[in-house]
C-alpha cells in the first residue's frame, strides 16, 4: 500500500479517537486524492460513495468491496446533512459514515445581514412591526396558525416558521404569489423575516363559508393551476372558502409545491403527475369538467407561462427549471387530452400531406451532409443506432420528417378498410402490448392520431415500424370472417400478448416497397474491394471456425464422457433424483379426512412402493432389521452411512410443521432426502470433480488452444474488416450505413430505404417465421382501421 494511504488511514484513526478534527481529515483526504496515483475521481468512485452512504443510512450492512473503494475523509451531503467516512471502532468494514462535526457549513447558508432585517417585504397594507400584534385565537392545525389583530383592529392569520419550518412558510408565500399571478384568488398576504424566522400574515376574510357541492364547479375552474402547483389537498380541509361575494378563495396553500400540508417535504418534480392523482381523488369537484375544459384551462395557464417564469427569475427562486419542465409536461398532457378527444369524437383531424414530388425527391449531398452532421453520436455506430422515446430511431425519423413520411395514417371506418384490403397487396397486423408506462390502446391511438410519429427502438431487419404481412405459408385468410386464422394475425397476437391490441391496416397500393435482402445487396455493392483477397481471407476464417468447433467438441467430450462414466459406475439414477424430490415435496402431508384424522399416504403406498424402489434403482439395498419389526435399513453403494425408517415412526410421529401457519412435512422423508443427496448424489459429484481435476491438464490444454484460436479468429475478422471497409465510416451517412451492414447488422437498411424514398421494406419470413415483416417508413401510406 502506498505511504500516502497509510498516512491517511492514521489520520482517520486519530479522528476516531478524537485527536484529529473532521476538518483536518477532510483536508488530508483532499491531499490524498490529489497526490495519489491510484485514486481516480471517477463516476465509478462516486457510485461507490453514494451506495456506501445509502446503505449506512438505510441500515443495510455495508458491502466490504464497495467500502474498500471509498477514501477516509470522503464527505457527502444528503438532505442538507453532511456525512463523513472515517475510522469507526467496531465497524465491520473498519470505516463507516457518521454525521460531520466540523466547522465547514453545509447547505444553504443564511446571510446574517438578511436575518437581521425584519421588514424586507412589507407594504403599507400590513403592520410594520410584528411585536404590535395581539393574538386573538389559535386557529389550530399542524402549522399552528393564529388569528392576530394589529393596533388598528385589522385581523390577520399568522403562520410562523417556528411552528413548522421557515422554508415551509416561505414556500406557502411563494405559492400564494403564483396563484395570484395565475389569476386565482388568495387572501392578501405578506412575508416577514423575524430574527431569521419566516412569518406570513394573510388578511383575514370575514364572512366566508365552507364550499358545498354548488361551489365545486367554481373550484374546479382552477384545477390545472392547482395541479401545476401540486396543491394536493386544496379541495379538502377548508383550504378553499367561499367569500361573501360567492367567490372561491384559496386560503391555505401550505400543501403546495415541495411541501405537504403538515410541513414535511414532498417531491415536486418535472412531471405534473398530480394531474391524474388529483382528478382521481377529487371526482366530485372535477365531475363537470370536460376534456375540452381541461384543454382550455391548460391553454390559459400556458398563456401565463411567461409571467410565471419571469417572476421566478426576477425573484431568484430556486424552482425555475422545475417550473419550466412542468409547463412542458402540461403541453404533453394537453396533447394526450387532444388525442383522447379526437378519438372520442371519432373525428380525425385533416392530415397534412406533402406532395409526391416532395416526398420522393432525391435528397441532395448537402442535405444528407446536414442530416448526418446534425445527428448526435460520436461515431457512425452511435449515430445510426441512436434512439429515443419520442421519435424512436433518430436518424430515420429525421429523414422521414424531411420527406413528410411522418404524417398520420389514413384512419378509416370498417367498410372503407375492407374495401382497401381488396385493393391492396399488403394486409398487415401490428401487435401492440402494454409497456413503458402506457397500455396497448395508447400505442394504437398514438399510431393513428398522434402527429408525432414514433418509429420504435428495435428493428433487426431494418429500423422502422413493424407489422406482419398477411402472406403466411400456412394460412393467409383475408376476409372479414376468416382473417383471424391467418399466420400473420396470430404472429401479431404473439407480439401483443394476452392484453395487447392489434392494429389492422393495409399499405396504400401506390406505395414504393423494396425487399430487405435486395437493399442489403445494393448497400454491400456500394464499396468495391479486392474480391480475391476477401475470398482468401474468408477461407482462413472458415478454417479457423471449423478448428474452433472441433476444439470445443473435444472439450465437451472429455468432460461429458468422464462424467457419464462415473455416474454409470456409481449407480446415479437421474429419474430418482428428480422424482423422489417431486413426490416428497408435492404430497400434502397435512391432509385430513372427513373425520379430521391424518390422511397422508400409507407406509405401503409410499415407502414400500416408492422409497424402496428409489434406493434400489441407485444400487442400494433395503433390509428389514429383524423379521416382523417393520424397521428397514437402507444402504447405498458409495457410502457406509445407513438410513433407518420404521413403520411405527411413519404412522405415529412423522408429520411435523415448522409453525402453525406452515405446510406439514414428513420428517423421516426429509431426512431420507438429505441422506440420499449427501451420501449418494453428493458422493458421486465429488468423485466427478476429482476426476475432472485429474484430467485437468487435458482440459487446460484444450482451453488454451481454444483461446488461441479465438484470438486468431479475431485477428482475421479484423483483417477482413480492413479489406472491406470504407475509408471513413464516420465521414458520411452512406459510408456509415455500409459499415454497419457489412458487419452483419441490418438496422441501418431502414434508414437507407428512407433515404432512397421507399415507403416500406419487406423482410420475407422474418426471423424464420411463416410470414413476412413489413417495415413501414412512410406512415401516411398506411390505411388503418379506426
Amino acid at each position: 500500500m502506498e505511504e500516502i494511504k497509510k498516512a491517511l488511514d492514521r489520520i482517520a484513526e486519530g479522528n476516531a479517537l478524537g485527536e484529529v478534527s473532521d476538518d483536518l481529515l477532510i483536508k488530508a483526504c483532499d491531499a490524498y486524492k490529489i497526490k495519489s496515483e491510484n485514486f481516480d475521481d471517477s463516476y465509478d468512485y462516486h457510485v461507490c460513495v453514494a451506495k456506501s452512504l445509502y446503505d449506512h443510512l438505510h441500515g443495510i450492512e455495508l458491502d466490504e468491496e464497495i467500502c474498500k473503494a471509498v477514501v477516509p475523509g470522503q464527505t457527502k451531503v444528503v438532505d442538507g446533512v453532511m456525512y463523513i467516512y472515517t475510522a469507526t471502532p467496531g465497524a465491520k468494514t473498519k470505516y463507516d459514515w457518521r454525521v460531520f462535526k466540523g466547522k465547514i457549513k453545509v447547505g444553504k447558508q443564511v446571510d446574517d445581514s438578511k436575518v437581521d432585517s425584519k421588514q424586507k417585504y412589507i407594504n403599507e397594507l400590513f403592520p410594520s412591526d410584528l411585536s404590535s400584534l395581539k393574538v386573538i385565537k389559535t386557529l389550530g392545525g399542524s402549522t399552528g396558525a393564529q388569528l392576530v389583530e394589529d393596533a388598528k383592529g385589522n385581523q390577520y392569520v399568522m403562520k410562523k416558521g417556528t411552528n413548522t419550518s421557515s422554508d415551509h412558510v416561505r414556500t406557502e408565500y411563494l405559492t400564494n404569489q403564483l396563484y395570484d399571478l395565475l389569476g386565482l384568488r388568495v387572501p392578501d398576504f405578506e412575508l416577514y423575516e423575524d430574527n431569521g424566522e419566516a412569518v406570513m400574515l394573510s388578511k383575514y376574510i370575514p364572512m366566508t363559508k365552507v364550499p358545498s357541492a354548488n361551489n365545486y364547479d367554481d373550484m374546479a375552474k382552477g384545477f390545472v393551476v392547482d395541479a401545476l402547483l401540486a396543491n394536493w389537498d386544496v379541495y379538502q380541509n377548508d383550504n378553499c372558502l367561499v367569500d361573501s361575494a360567492g367567490r372561491i378563495v384559496r386560503v391555505d396553500n401550505g400543501g403546495a409545491l415541495n411541501y405537504r400540508a403538515q410541513g414535511s417535504k414532498k417531491t415536486f418534480g418535472d412531471k405534473v403527475d398530480d394531474f391524474l392523482s388529483m382528478q382521481k381523488y377529487n371526482p366530485s369537484v372535477v365531475a363537470n369538467l370536460s376534456t375540452q375544459d381541461y384543454i382550455n384551462q391548460i391553454d390559459d395557464v400556458l398563456n401565463k407561462q411567461g409571467d410565471v417564469m419571469g417572476f421566478l427569475v426576477a425573484s431568484n427562486i430556486d424552482m425555475i427549471k422545475v417550473f419550466d419542465n412542468r409547463f412542458k409536461d402540461l403541453r404533453r398532457i394537453k396533447n394526450d387530452l387532444e388525442a383522447k378527444l379526437a378519438k372520442k369524437n371519432k373525428k380525425v383531424l385533416p392530415r397534412n400531406l406533402k406532395s409526391d414530388a416532395d416526398m420522393y425527391r432525391e435528397l441532395s449531398e448537402d442535405e444528407l451532409d446536414a442530416i448526418w452532421k446534425g445527428q448526435s453520436g460520436s461515431d457512425y455506430w452511435r449515430k445510426l443506432n441512436a434512439t429515443n422515446y419520442t421519435v424512436g430511431w433518430e436518424l430515420l425519423s429525421t429523414i422521414c420528417a424531411e420527406r413528410g413520411f411522418t404524417a398520420r395514417p389514413n384512419v378509416v371506418d370498417e367498410a372503407e378498410y375492407w374495401n382497401a384490403v381488396k385493393q391492396s397487396k399488403y394486409q398487415m397486423f401490428r401487435g401492440l402490448s402494454d409497456g413503458g408506462g402506457h397500455n396497448a390502446e395508447y400505442y394504437a391511438d398514438d399510431f393513428k392520431y398522434n402527429d408525432n410519429c414514433f418509429y420504435g427502438t428495435i428493428g433487426i431487419h431494418g429500423s422502422g415500424i413493424y407489422a406482419h404481412v398477411n402472406d403466411g405459408d400456412h394460412d393467409k385468410s383475408n376476409t372479414q370472417t376468416t382473417y383471424k386464422k391467418s399466420d400473420a394475425y396470430n404472429a401479431a397476437r404473439s407480439y401483443a400478448g394476452r392484453s395487447g391490441d392489434i392494429l389492422e391496416c393495409v399499405l396504400d397500393p401506390s406505395s414504393k416497397v423494396a425487399l430487405v435482402p435486395d437493399l442489403k445487396k445494393e448497400i454491400l455493392s456500394l464499396v468495391t474491394f479486392d474480391k480475391a483477397a476477401v475470398d482468401a481471407k474468408q477461407i482462413e476464417i472458415d478454417a479457423l471456425n471449423n478448428q474452433l468447433k472441433q476444439q470445443q467438441d473435444d472439450l465437451n467430450n472429455i468432460t461429458d464422457k468422464t462424467e457419464k462414466e462415473i455416474k454409470t459406475n456409481m449407480h446415479w439414477d437421474e429419474d430418482t433424483l428428480v422424482m423422489s424430490q417431486l413426490e416428497i415435496d408435492n404430497t400434502d402431508w397435512g391432509r385430513l379426512n372427513d373425520d379430521g384424522d391424518p390422511d397422508y399416504p400409507s407406509f405401503e403406498d409410499f415407502v414400500e412402493k416408492k422409497v424402496f424402489d428409489w434406493v434400489k434403482k441407485n444400487g442400494g439395498t433395503v433390509t428389514e432389521k429383524g423379521k416382523g419389526t417393520d424397521v428397514y435399513v437402507f444402504t447405498l453403494p458409495n457410502s457406509k452411512e445407513k438410513f433407518m425408517l420404521s413403520r411405527y415412526q411413519w404412522e405415529n410421529n412423522a408429520i411435523k410443521r415448522k409453525n402453525a401457519f406452515s405446510n406439514a412435512y414428513n420428517y423421516p422423508l426429509k431426512r431420507f432426502q438429505d441422506w440420499m443427496m449427501k451420501e449418494h448424489y453428493g458422493v458421486i459429484n465429488k468423485k466427478i470433480s476429482k476426476e475432472l481435476e485429474n484430467i485437468g491438464d487435458k482440459v487446460t490444454n484444450l482451453q488454451s488452444d481454444i483461446k488461441v484460436t479465438k484470438s486468431e479468429l479475431n485477428v482475421k475478422t479484423s483483417e477482413m474488416a480492413d479489406l472491406k471497409k470504407t475509408k471513413d465510416p464516420n465521414g458520411d451517412i452512406i459510408s456509415g450505413i455500409y459499415e454497419l451492414v457489412r458487419i452483419g447488422s441490418k438496422e441501418a437498411i431502414g434508414t437507407y430505404a428512407a433515404l432512397k424514398g421507399y415507403d416500406a421494406i419487406i423482410e420475407p419470413h422474418g426471423n424464420g417465421g411463416p410470414n413476412s415483416f413489413m417495415i413501414i417508413l412512410n406512415r401516411s401510406k398506411v390505411i388503418v382501421k379506426k
Binding site: 475521481d41 453514494a50 451506495k51 401487435g431 413503458g436 428495435i458 433487426i460 482475421k716 452483419g744
Partner: protein, 121 residues
C-alpha cells in the same frame, strides 16, 4: 409465444450491446465485456435475424442475448428516469460524478433495483 421470448424483440434490444467494451455511458455496469468477441458479432447478427424463439439460439448466444437484453432494459429504465427530470443523456454525461452517482442511486431506489443487478453475469 410471449413477446419477451421472441428473438426479434430481445435480440433486437441486445444486439446494440453485445459488442461493446463499455456497454453504457450512463450506468457503470460490471462484468466481462464485450459480451461477444469480435469474430462472433456477424454470426450473432445472422443468428438473431433468422431465429424466432430465444430457446432456439445456441447456449452462448442465448446467454449473450439475455445479458444484452438486461443491459438494454436497465439502460432504458435509467434513461426514462432521467427524462422524467428532463435530463438528456448528454446533459447527464456533463454532470459532476457525485451528482451522477446520486441520480443513479435514486433511480435504483425508485425502480426497486438492487445495486448488485448492475453486475452482469
Amino acid at each position: 409465444m410471449e413477446r419477451e421470448r421472441l428473438v426479434s424483440v430481445v435480440g433486437g434490444r441486445a444486439v446494440k450491446y453485445v459488442g461493446l467494451k463499455k456497454p453504457s455511458q450512463i450506468i457503470p455496469f460490471k462484468g466481462n465485456f464485450p459480451l461477444l468477441e469480435p469474430y462472433q458479432i456477424a454470426l450473432y447478427n445472422e443468428a438473431i435475424q433468422n431465429t424466432e424463439k430465444l430457446e432456439d439460439l445456441s447456449d452462448e448466444f442465448q446467454k449473450a442475448t439475455e445479458k444484452g437484453n438486461r443491459i438494454a432494459l436497465l439502460e432504458e429504465g435509467f434513461q426514462r428516469y432521467l427524462e422524467s427530470y428532463n435530463i438528456s443523456v448528454d446533459a447527464f454525461m456533463k454532470m459532476k460524478n457525485t451528482d451522477k452517482s446520486d441520480k443513479l442511486m435514486n433511480w435504483l431506489n425508485h425502480d426497486c433495483i438492487d445495486f448488485s443487478q448492475l453486475t452482469i453475469k
